[in-house]
């Protein structure tokens, strides 16, 4: 038995995981980070946009303040977030950006003088102050009140990931790649570490730890079409859910994007439509104006995605080997515009499709993008249900995003939450003495080995894991996508229940030896289907529309009934999740209001109740 002991075990070595690791190592604790891929290949590195922080250094960010950032975040969440957490985030973000600068991130800096920028196709002038030259600058991103998004050219996530991983190397933190956690070790009260499959040898190992932090990113790969990296498959979230004790917060809160390329679903920016790009159907005719006469292609992200799907369902999609899609047309924008302002789009089309967008149409369809949903934690990052278990980043529902995440807030969350939660983890480690039961560890290890043996010998059935996975992905994509209704969701739940049965009867077609991928997929499929059922069941239960959760049959935001957070548990041996609810926020700094976009009316909550929970003006 390969057993490792450490103070802190981090599952997932992306930005939030490594940030927590750094905090613990600096306080003198031993840390092991486990990752499916080498740390720098984590999905954090794919985030290109940037990190929101109210530094207020650039001209169009002048007079920015954490208060303004906080307000943007709360509105963005459609009042679904925990306002205490959003406040901690907004206040800490500027300090964290400066810390990253000290550690080595090559942030773009303020350049003094006059320059031009474009907004809605129009040209404007701005002048950067001399006294701010050389400070961290920001760009406009995600419809915020101020230019607040700190960035490094077109690779913010990559650059910050390099710096964070360098910091881990400097501190001598053990960052081990090709290690996949498959089960938590716990006694019903406390988490003691994890059983881990080595993806080099296929062997099981155990990691015992006083504190365990799950920082494994989102779970977009539950959907058939997602912008997420293939490792964002929900394996670790499902592992937490499988304990029967730890809930997933707001599983129905999932964000989508209208234009992923087909196949591979790499994002092309919404700037294409902003700049005059159009959407075409199988007849190469525009259609958005039929559904949205006023705004056509410029309607909001969710509306465009919904209309695209409606149009495909009406039989106007373009058939392809990868399913139906539509066309994005930017040919008329011309070579100069495409080569300069849409260079990234040009490169994606050339590199991944072999399409020249100057002369050819780009195949696109709506795609899953971000999970606000995640392992529910309190403000210290401690997971509900098990002591010693923490979670941060996209994996967690901490919950600063509520029902809609702002662009630039998710990447910032990784490091800001990682820092804050890292300090709470240190407190926990200082005050905790953990006794491990070797019988418990051996029992969990034996249970996992038995699962592997069953799969390799096809003892429970002969279902093909890839076929089962595909059916799960298609069910969720069909029934629980951008716009949802009772009929579609009921069907989705029903199909997923059948898929879950089949997921328990997988048998391997290959021998499963060594770095075998099929075995890895088979070990997590049941947990993934359970997670998918949490998403669909919670979406069916929430009879309102809030943020990214859009119910066609309940278009209003219903604060009277639904100003709350879903907690989805999977009690052991259950065939369905158990849903509970808690108040969205301990108090309101900003009482519920209209966020000013997204449409739909609001059914207000009881005014007295809201007033009683609203903070009085600070002196």
């Amino acid at each position: 038995m390969y057993t490792h002991n450490t103070d802190l075990l981090v599952i997932g070595a992306g930005l939030s995981g490594e940030r927590i690791a750094v905090e613990a190592a600096q306080a003198g604790f031993s840390v092991i980070c486990l990752s499916i891929v080498p740390a720098r290949r984590s999905h954090s590195s794919a985030a290109q946009g940037g990190m929101q922080a109210a530094l207020g250094n650039c001209a169009l960010g002048e007079n920015d303040h954490p208060d303004v950032h906080f307000a943007d975040t709360v509105k963005g969440s459609d009042w679904g977030c925990d306002q205490e957490v959003a406040r901690m985030f907004a206040n800490t973000a500027p300090i964290e950006m400066r810390r990253l600068a000290h550690w080595g991130v090559p942030w773009n800096r303020v350049v003094a003088g006059t320059s031009f920028y474009f907004k809605g196709g129009e040209k404007f002038e701005k002048t950067e102050a001399k006294e701010k030259a050389g400070l961290i600058t920001a760009r406009s991103f995600g419809g915020t009140a101020k230019w607040r998004t700190c960035y490094t050219s077109d690779g913010t996530g990559h650059a910050v990931m390099c710096t964070m991983d360098n910091k881990c190397a400097e501190l001598g933190i053990a960052v081990l790649d090709r290690k996949e956690a498959i089960a938590l070790i716990h006694d019903g009260q406390k988490c003691m570490g994890a059983v881990v499959r080595c993806l080099r040898t296929g062997r099981l190992e155990t990691y015992l730890a006083t504190a365990t932090a799950i920082c494994s990113g989102g779970f977009g790969r539950l959907y058939a079409a997602t912008t997420n990296a293939i490792i964002c498959d929900g394996g670790a979230a499902a592992m937490a859910l499988d304990t029967g004790l730890v809930p997933i917060g707001n599983p129905e809160a999932i964000q989508f994007h209208p234009t992923g390329i087909v196949p591979t679903e790499i994002l092309v920016t919404e700037g294409c439509r902003g700049d005059g790009g159009t959407l075409l159907d199988v007849h190469e005719e525009r259609f958005m104006h039929i559904y949205e006469p006023q705004k056509a292609e410029l309607a909001s992200r969710d509306v465009v995605a919904r209309r695209m799907l409606e149009h495909i369902r009406a039989g106007h999609g373009v058939p392809s080997a990868y399913g139906e899609h539509l066309w994005l047309d930017i040919r008329h924008l011309g070579d100069e515009h495409i080569s300069t302002k849409l260079r990234e789009v040009d490169e994606i089309c050339q590199n991944f499709l072999g399409v020249d967008p100057r002369t050819q149409l780009i195949p696109v369809r709506p795609t899953q993008h971000y999970t606000m949903a995640g392992i529910r934690t309190n403000k210290t990052g401690a997971a509900y249900g098990l002591k010693g278990l923490f979670s941060a980043g996209e994996a967690a529902c901490w919950d600063m995003h509520g029902f809609n995440r702002l662009g630039g807030n998710s990447l910032a969350e990784t490091v800001v939450a990682g820092g804050i939660i890292g300090r709470y983890v240190v407190d926990y480690l200082k005050n905790t003495d953990l006794c491990f039961s070797s019988a418990l560890v051996k029992a969990e290890l034996a249970r996992q080995q038995e699962r592997i043996d069953d799969l390799m010998a096809s003892r429970l059935g002969k279902e093909n894991v890839y076929a089962v996975r595909k059916d799960m992905q298609e069910a969720l994509t069909e029934g629980c996508f951008v716009f949802r209704n009772a009929q579609g969701l009921q069907r989705c739940v029903h199909i997923l229940e059948e898929v879950l049965d089949r997921a328990g009867k997988i048998g391997l077609a290959s021998n499963g030896l060594g770095a075998n991928h099929e075995l890895g997929a088979a070990l997590k499929i049941q947990g993934q289907v359970r997670l998918a059922l949490c998403v669909a069941t919670a979406a069916l239960a929430r009879t309102e529309s809030r943020g990214s959760h859009n119910r066609e049959d309940y278009p209003d935001r219903n604060d009277a009934q639904w100003l709350n957070r879903t907690l989805a548990y999977w009690p052991q041996d259950n065939r369905a999740p158990k849903l509970e609810y808690e108040e969205a926020t301990p108090y309101f700094e900003i009482p519920p209001g209209d966020r000013g976009y997204g449409g739909g009316s609001i059914i207000p909550a009881d005014a007295e109740k809201i007033a009683a929970k609203t903070m009085q003006n600070q002196e």
Binding site: V37, P38, R40, R41, S45, A46, I95, R98, R99, A101, H102, W103, G104, P106, W107, N108, R109, V110, V111, A133, G134, L135, I136, T137, T152, G155, H158, A159, C162, N166, A169, E170, D177, R178, L199, A229, I230, V262, P263, T264, I266, A321, Y322, I348, N351, F352, L353, G354, P363, V465, Y466, L508, S510, N511, L513, G514, A515, N516, H517, E518
Partner: protein
């Protein structure tokens, strides 16, 4: 269109040492806009689930999927089958330890490199959360980022003549890492410090100048410029050392 592609793929599973390494043939109907990411996943899901290869971001950002495609190291995710002949030969990257089939262990190699190059900012200054950040010229920040774009795919190492002959050669990715820190005003290391790391045959003086590293770099990093820059810088440092030694001796 509608070609039938023939894939010849290197197969070896170290967990079954009694099975000898071999090339295995697969055929697949080509579809529109197909990349090797699409093709290899179809082969695994539809034909042989034991096939081992690595992908992660599948968008040319993470560097997981370096392999030798028809004789050339490259990222599989941004290789379109339409740009390849009907017969496609796939081999794992050389130099790195084999995990299985097309998958190699770049993770351990690069973590070792971080320690060899001491790949972090060396500064005696402590972070002060109350202070404004230290200022930096934007042009310098952009130059640093230009070199930080390396995705550690290992293509430059696999294509390097010296690295193929000697295991201890640092290779272009590592030397580029040194160049990145040498450029950074926050790093207090001197030329002498860098000379300790790369002023030798397994460092900058081991490079034979064959240029393949830059030819195969999927991020088009200016590797030859950086190697040239370091060679000059380290050459001058060596001369200074020699001069200092001889003046001490006299």
């Amino acid at each position: 269109m509608a070609r039938t592609l023939t894939f010849e793929i290197f197969r070896y599973n170290p967990a079954i040492p009694e099975q000898k390494p071999q090339m295995q043939c697969f055929t697949l109907a080509e579809t529109a806009n197909m990349t090797l990411f699409i093709a290899l996943n179809r082969l695994r899901e539809e034909q042989d689930p034991s096939l081992v290869f690595d992908f992660c971001c599948r968008a040319g950002i993470c560097g997981s999927c370096g392999m030798v495609v028809n004789g050339r190291p490259r990222l599989a995710c941004q290789t379109k089958t339409a740009d390849l002949p009907e017969r496609i030969i796939l081999l794992p990257l050389p130099v790195f330890k084999l995990v299985g089939d097309l998958s190699v262990d770049t993770g351990v190699w690069f973590r070792d490199m971080y320690q060899k190059t001491r790949s972090w900012i060396h500064t005696k200054k402590a972070f002060d959360s109350d202070q404004e950040e230290e200022r930096m010229d934007n042009a310098v920040a952009e130059q640093i980022y230009e070199l930080e774009r390396c995705v550690e795919c290992g293509c430059c190492i696999a294509a390097c003549g010296t690295a193929r002959m000697r295991d201890d050669f640092l290779g272009a990715a590592s030397l580029n890492r040194i160049a990145r820190f040498a450029l950074d005003p926050r790093d207090e290391r001197t030329d002498q410090d860098y000379f300790e790391i790369i002023g030798n045959d397994y460092g900058i003086f081991g490079c034979m100048g064959l240029l393949a590293c830059e030819d195969v770099c999927p991020k088009h990093l200016p590797l030859q410029n950086q190697l040239g820059f370091l060679r000059r810088k380290m050459g001058i440092t060596a001369l200074k050392q020699l001069f200092r030694k001889s003046s001490c001796a006299s």
